[in-house]
């Protein structure tokens, strides 16, 4: 032992010898939580995940992460009703992140730069028939191709897109955007046969040597309600009107158009009528605005364009130039009940937008396949009662939106893949959800949402120009950076900084952090100060 100064008996030591981790009763652990946007996306997009890349300006990587789940971002960024934004945690702070507008920006960038999908997986040697080139069919085809299968789409119509072309008006979805995103899927190796109606699914599968089929023919037969009508009354259905917009001849609706119904299609057809020169477009709906199934943004935009809505009314007779309307009241259950009060209303034509039925003719005599309420029944794996035949989109019971259809296509593709490989597809366990109270919003600076430019109402009444504009790069970047990264570490270094015991190890860019449990006393400051709720305390013995 070395000589020591007077009264000193021990060598100088380091406090590292003192493992303060033994004080702990609770310990912090890192985790990924499920952000509400991801949980709320009908197409199962990893929204927080792709925004993360957009935040750093790496739009191509963002687009690649996005298209792992949804091959149609430029379309989504226009027609999706973005349920993700309704549940976005930033809504508690100022307003939701403009997820939909960033998605559109990424989709448009991809078209502008001609980005292609990454090469698909090794080929499986299996062949899948997809019936219908709408959102659901295209999505399934894309995902099946990703998984290495050969895919052929048989489409009865003359063009691809399904309801995206024949149901959604141009002013919401310009056709060159639709064409570009479909073309990219075809470039990816998917074969599309147009004007190819499948009349009997089993025959088609046999003759083409298909190992499995995905049915996604949609629902495009407009429902007719029985309305007593004079001989000269002009009554049409909304789907036919919207479909004929894609042909040479514009539908003849006259000056005063009445649309009957309260869904998004009613709004679309009313707004189309306005653009075709109707001086008066009135929607007649039997319930109230609160009960209307149409999306609020569509209702707002329609009202701005001069569409009028007559609430609590049913049409009981249609004449040549007028309609008879009966006023309704809502009973205590919210159902409309007749009042016996009538009025007449001038109208040159009546368009019925009362929902759509599925054309089931191709499914005649398929063994095991079950049809109920005019829709094909499927199990949790999207398979019909007939092994190897799967179905999705508007022809199965579900909410009928483009995004839902894309989600069905993805889910079906995964189950078809598993079925072809004699496996079962077990989705990864979902992370626990992250709610606003798990965040520490103090760390997020104030940043109000950027609104997309909107075409002025006058131009919207006369033409089919796109109503909603896109964001430019600066705006899109700003909007992406408003994301709070709920439940997923974005490497802000807070935990590393705020630990009074230096017991957080920073592993370096992209590698996140680790707790040094030798010294962590379990104070929990890292959990309290993590802005995004990506750390939690758990009891030491658990």
């Amino acid at each position: 032992m070395r000589d020591k100064p007077f009264a000193i008996t021990l060598d100088p030591g380091s406090s590292l010898a003192n493992h303060t981790g033994s004080w702990r009763t609770m310990k912090p652990v890192y985790l990924d939580r499920l952000p509400p946007c991801n949980a709320g996306c009908p197409a199962g997009e990893n929204i927080q995940g792709w925004l993360f890349h957009a935040e750093s300006g790496d739009y191509e990587q963002a687009w690649r992460v996005l298209t792992l789940d949804n091959p149609l971002p430029a379309i989504m960024g226009r027609v999706c009703y973005h349920p993700c934004e309704d549940v976005c945690n930033r809504g508690h702070l100022d307003s939701a992140v403009g997820i939909n507008s960033v998605e559109r920006f990424l989709g448009d960038e991809a078209i502008r730069h001609g980005w292609k999908f990454d090469e698909p997986a090794a080929t499986s040697g299996k062949k899948v028939l997809v019936v219908g080139a709408g959102p659901s069919g295209l999505s399934a085809a894309y995902h099946l191709a990703r998984l290495g299968h050969r895919v052929e789409i048989h489409e009865a119509g003359p063009l691809s897109g399904g309801m995206m072309r024949f149901g959604i008006p141009k002013y919401r979805l310009p056709r060159q955007v639709l064409d570009a995103e479909v073309a990219r899927i075809l470039d990816f190796g998917v074969t599309l046969k147009l004007d190819t109606r499948v009349t009997n699914i089993e025959d088609s599968m046999r003759s083409g040597n298909f190992d499995a089929a995905f049915l996604a023919v949609g629902a495009h037969i407009g429902k007719r309600a029985f309305i007593p009508a004079g001989d000269a009354a002009r009554i049409m259905d909304a789907v036919s009107v919207l479909r004929s917009m894609e042909g040479e001849e514009r539908p003849q609706l006259g000056r005063r158009v009445v649309v009957y119904g309260g869904g998004n299609t009613a709004l679309d057809v009313a707004r189309t009528a306005r653009r075709l020169g109707a001086t008066e477009t009135i929607i007649v709906y039997r319930r109230t605005r609160e009960k209307m199934p149409a999306h609020n943004t569509e209702v707002e935009e329609a009202l701005q364009e001069g569409v009028m809505i007559k609430w609590l009314s049913t049409i009981i007779h249609a004449g040549e130039h007028d309609l008879t309307i009966e006023k309704m009241v809502l009973d205590e259950k919210g159902y409309p009940q007749p009042t016996g009060e009538f009025e007449t209303m001038a109208a040159d034509s009546l368009v019925l937008a009362l929902g759509q039925d599925v054309d089931l003719s191709l499914l005649q005599n398929v063994a095991g396949l079950e049809i109920k309420d005019g829709m094909v029944q499927i199990d949790g794996n999207m398979m019909t009662g007939h092994p190897g035949i799967f179905a999705g989109g508007d022809m199965v019971p579900s909410e009928r939106t483009v995004t839902m259809g894309v989600g069905h296509g993805k889910k079906a593709a995964r189950h078809i893949d598993a079925w072809l490989r004699h496996r079962s597809y077990v989705p990864a366990a979902k992370h626990e959800p992250v709610t606003f109270d798990m965040l520490n919003p103090w760390y997020y600076s104030d940043a109000p949402k950027i609104m997309r430019p909107v075409l002025d109402a006058i131009r919207r009444q006369s033409g089919f120009e796109e109503v909603q504009g896109g964001l430019d790069e600066n705006n899109a970047l700003f909007e992406a950076r408003r994301c709070l990264s709920c439940g997923n570490c974005f490497e802000c270094d807070n935990c590393y900084g705020v630990c009074p015991d230096n017991s957080v190890i920073k592993l370096g860019h992209g590698k996140r952090f680790q707790i040094n449990y030798d010294y962590c006393k379990g104070c929990g400051i890292c959990v309290a100060e993590c802005p995004c709720g990506a750390i939690k305390m758990v009891p030491e013995d658990a």
Binding site: L10, S15, R481, C483, F490, N494, G524
Partner: protein, 334 residues
């Protein structure tokens, strides 16, 4: 103001770091090679604000001086929890003074360095509020008055924590301590005249005076670095919650410090040569109850019959700070 928040970042720069910022724009604490002036294994309580504040300040000072730094440390928690013989947590030359003479010891170190011509080596004196505002005030005032080249940092946890939470002249009115029990007609610490050492330091017109809390890291680091740009006497007063003495949850240390600022009870500002030059604005002003309620030392104010009058007097102190130091930005006319 030296610290300018970067606009339009995902989270501003309120977080410790941010992958989108250039490394030089990030805080000292965000770097993997920060000095960690106080090493792991120290014996401070879970969630100690003083341990955190001292590392924040010294890491910043070490970066500013390229680690050419010596510290003199008054007796108190900071000294005791870092250096139980024979262990030490300190990663810089560090000297324990007495309870009341850290300023004088630092003055001596600075004088010796001057004699030796080692001007590049800088000196810090540090201590708790007891060692600073009470027993050490004479030495501190002398250091100010002579303008000795020392940065004095006071870690204010508003009582003598190391010896068991006795009242100091920095203990706020109404707070319970071991020596100001919540009994009798005026429970807790009496409303005195107050003794705010940053103002006393400003009265000496020394080159630099600043206040900070552990809740605003970027602001704290900017102030330490700014202080190192001056020669002569400098003073930084850092607000450091003490979970043990205040009866707060160990995970709430930073939140409590944030609330002290956002309610106006602890003003954050800087002064040069006796004049205030900046104030850190309150982002979201809150009533003092938000700050008082989570602390057991104020629990007697919120009994079956809340002490509304006492709370109102505390609110008045906060309001006065907000006016005096300009803590709330004037509303811009649109």
């Amino acid at each position: 103001m030296p610290f300018q928040p970067v606009k339009f970042y995902q989270t501003g720069t309120f977080t410790v770091g941010n992958r989108l910022l250039k490394p030089e724009d990030r805080s000292v604490q965000s770097h993997r090679d920060r000095s960690n002036a106080i090493n792991s294994g120290h014996r401070a309580c879970q969630g100690c604000g003083e341990a955190l504040g001292a590392r924040y300040a010294l890491d910043a000072a070490m970066e500013a001086t390229k680690s050419q730094l010596i510290a003199a440390n008054a007796t108190g928690c900071l000294e005791v929890f870092t250096t139980p013989y024979p262990e030490t947590s300190w990663q810089l030359p560090w000297m324990h003074s007495l309870f009341g003479n850290a300023a004088a010891v630092a003055t001596g170190i600075a004088a010796a360095l001057k004699v030796k011509g080692r001007n590049e080596i800088r000196v810090i004196a540090q201590g708790g509020d007891g060692g600073t505002t009470d027993i050490g005030l004479g030495c501190l005032s002398g250091m100010f008055e002579r303008n000795d080249d020392v940065l004095y940092i006071c870690y204010d946890n508003e009582a003598y924590m190391n010896t068991g939470v006795q009242r100091s002249s920095a203990t706020p009115p109404a707070a319970r301590t071991a020596t100001t029990m919540p009994v009798g007609p005026n429970p807790g610490n009496p409303f005195g005249q107050g003794k705010f050492v940053p103002a006393i330091a400003m009265a000496h017109e020394i080159p630099y005076v600043a206040t900070a809390t552990v809740a605003d890291l970027h602001d704290l680091e900017a102030k330490v670095k700014r202080a190192m740009e001056f020669r002569g006497a400098r003073y930084i007063h850092i607000f450091v919650p003490c979970p043990l003495g205040w009866g707060t949850a160990s995970h709430d240390t930073i939140r409590i410090a944030r609330l002290a600022h956002e309610t106006g009870l602890f003003p954050i500002f800087e002064a040069e040569h006796g004049l205030q030059v900046s104030a850190l604005p309150i982002r979201k002003q809150l009533p003092v109850e938000e700050y008082l309620k989570p602390q057991k030392r104020f629990a007697h104010l919120f009994g079956a019959k809340p002490e509304l009058e006492v709370i109102a007097r505390i609110q008045a102190r906060a309001d006065r700070n907000i006016r005096k130091y300009g803590l709330v930005k004037q509303q811009e006319t649109p």
